[in-house]
Symmetry: C2
Subunit: 424 residues, 2 copies
Amino acid sequence: MADAPHVVIIGAGFGGLYAARALARKRVRITVIDRKNHHVFQPLLYQVATAKLSPADIASPIRSVLGKYRNVQVLLDEAAQFDLTNKKVTLKTGESLGYDYLIVAAGASHAYFGHDEWSSLAPGLKSIEDATEIRRRVLLAFEMAEREALINGKRPMLNFIIVGGGPTGVELAGSIAEIAQKVMAKDFRGIDPTRARVVLLEAGQRILPAYPEDLSRSAERQLRKLGVDVLVGRAVTGLQTGKVLVGDEVMASNVTLWAAGVKASPLGNILGAPTDRAGRVMVEPDLSLPGHPEVFVVGDLAAITDKSGKQAPGVAPAAIQQGKATAKNIWRSIKSQPRKPFKYLDKGNLATIGRAAGVAEFGRLHLSGVIAWIFWLTVHIFFLIGFRNRVMVFIQWAWAYFTFQSGARLITGNTDLPGGKPNG
Amino acid sequence: MADAPHVVIIGAGFGGLYAARALARKRVRITVIDRKNHHVFQPLLYQVATAKLSPADIASPIRSVLGKYRNVQVLLDEAAQFDLTNKKVTLKTGESLGYDYLIVAAGASHAYFGHDEWSSLAPGLKSIEDATEIRRRVLLAFEMAEREALINGKRPMLNFIIVGGGPTGVELAGSIAEIAQKVMAKDFRGIDPTRARVVLLEAGQRILPAYPEDLSRSAERQLRKLGVDVLVGRAVTGLQTGKVLVGDEVMASNVTLWAAGVKASPLGNILGAPTDRAGRVMVEPDLSLPGHPEVFVVGDLAAITDKSGKQAPGVAPAAIQQGKATAKNIWRSIKSQPRKPFKYLDKGNLATIGRAAGVAEFGRLHLSGVIAWIFWLTVHIFFLIGFRNRVMVFIQWAWAYFTFQSGARLITGNTDLPGGKPNG
């Protein structure tokens, strides 16, 4: 086995993990490198951010997911440089690692459109740490308002502003409105949590722009029913402590969250190939790097347009398909067979809006409300990695559904709210 | 109700929480102040530190635990000063709050015997944040050793040293040995986690000094069976990065944990009454402050010796009994009835040593091994606050027991190990 080809995979998100799994039974040596020790089930990250699930419910240790494959080794580290000529990756710790095939699946993070100083004012949602930071800010805002009300007898304002009307923004807004309405309501004495204002700001003309128009409208209706103010055509022009600026308008905000854009990992540029505006690597039809058939880019870091002219979106199913396709192409190359171009199979789109509401699109089939939510529930429990997590998450959801209790309402870390006290 | 006596409770640990509950049905107004939003079930904190349970499994939001009592309000804040003459508490945020009765239940934290600089070298275990920090260091040590082994072909040393052989030290040592032996074993390629060395250092002549001697010996035997090196009569004289000094001996250590001593909250001194060597307030037989019958001190912050000359220990059952007794005495005073002195009822002691092992003492009944462990399991599940937590914890334990899987092996926060790389 020591002479088997060495496949190095950078990143254990959906793309990297599924590539590793698909190659794990073959005669290759695999090294998976990630800067975290855990794979995150990103579609449920917003549930950690809104205190419905615990971090461990949606994250599994990478080496435990891949533990049964004897030809896979896992390193907690980060890629710093690539030497494509000599087929070597230099790690952050200074060591370097040779490869025969390289899969770069380093994903994307949130983008502030050149305003990196906004990141502390409005955190985005990409990691477990992001999720617990958002949870901390949301829960702390209620606590601070309660203290103000009880001690000073004031009736403090409580505004949550979510910037960006894509799936993450919609799910965060729906989920925050829901905990304010249902979970928090009976636990406070000085404030009335049901009077909290949740605002979803979208720069474009409708929320969920990647969905069919009827579902955008339905999502908007369902959000309004939960009490969310959906404001479209409003581009954020500035963020300040406790304030969101939209043109001339100044909106007071206790907690501002960012769900407005993503940019690809800087590893894309380090690879030296052309990238698109979002920093994604323009790959060949087989997802390989131009000029380097032994190097592949998959997932959110890859820009690929298939024959029909449609680009694979930055969602988990696309990354999974790319990871699997790349594993197959590497195995074809090892067996000296011709590779196949990647073809994206659009399996539809799903988003939830709180408890028992949502929208779903499977080609011409468009679903709304409870049915969409049941679809969402089934699909997400089915795909959660690790059997224990499935059972746990199902129990917690069932518990939360029937009791309106939210299980993970912990404020950890410090109890100051940077930039969270509105001046309004 | 606005003219009902106002009871202010500082701290929502066991003492404060049980006092609040016992008074909640009476005609009083209650304000509970804590610097965290959650009550922590401290006896299970070591299970979070060793990745067996998630933080939310052993912590409940204080306002959710007390939410059903309409006469209880909860403030996320901290007491900074007391004006005993005018019956006012000044909070950290600068506001002050009047009271008719005051219960100070601020607990204790770990003590480094005048070496506060050791705290970053050897974290102790008192809060959820402490537990996730210990978890981070323990898991990271395995990851760093694996990287060293895979990249450099070295066989790195992997030493865990726990300072202090009380219940927390015993439980941490047993639990770390167990994850090394059972959980980690199959997930690593370069290192053999079963060869990790776990050392329990105790300055006195036996571990679990508060237990009967036969149980100390049994605990030591059970720990050795798990592979723990139990070293008694070894007082730590110094800590350095990657090193523990015991007299002339230098022990290399990847992760050092502190379970050697506690000191009472600084609020004890601020109250102005005499304190003992550990900073605990010397209270009257009814737990009130000398000269201030309207102020009570309960739990780990109180030093009380009953008629038989035995001091109430710093454990959860003692704090619970004190909280309840104080609630009753306050209600007696309101009804102009005479108070009763506090009497500690020793219900016994329980400690676990990994999976299906432990020691228990109920007066003359001494139990060891599986039976002690089953007792421990039953008692802890029964007393966990919040029904959801009981179900969750039971399922996770059952899962971990039958599969040897540990559910919450997440490294969150940064992936550098301060002071964790041994120089040995």
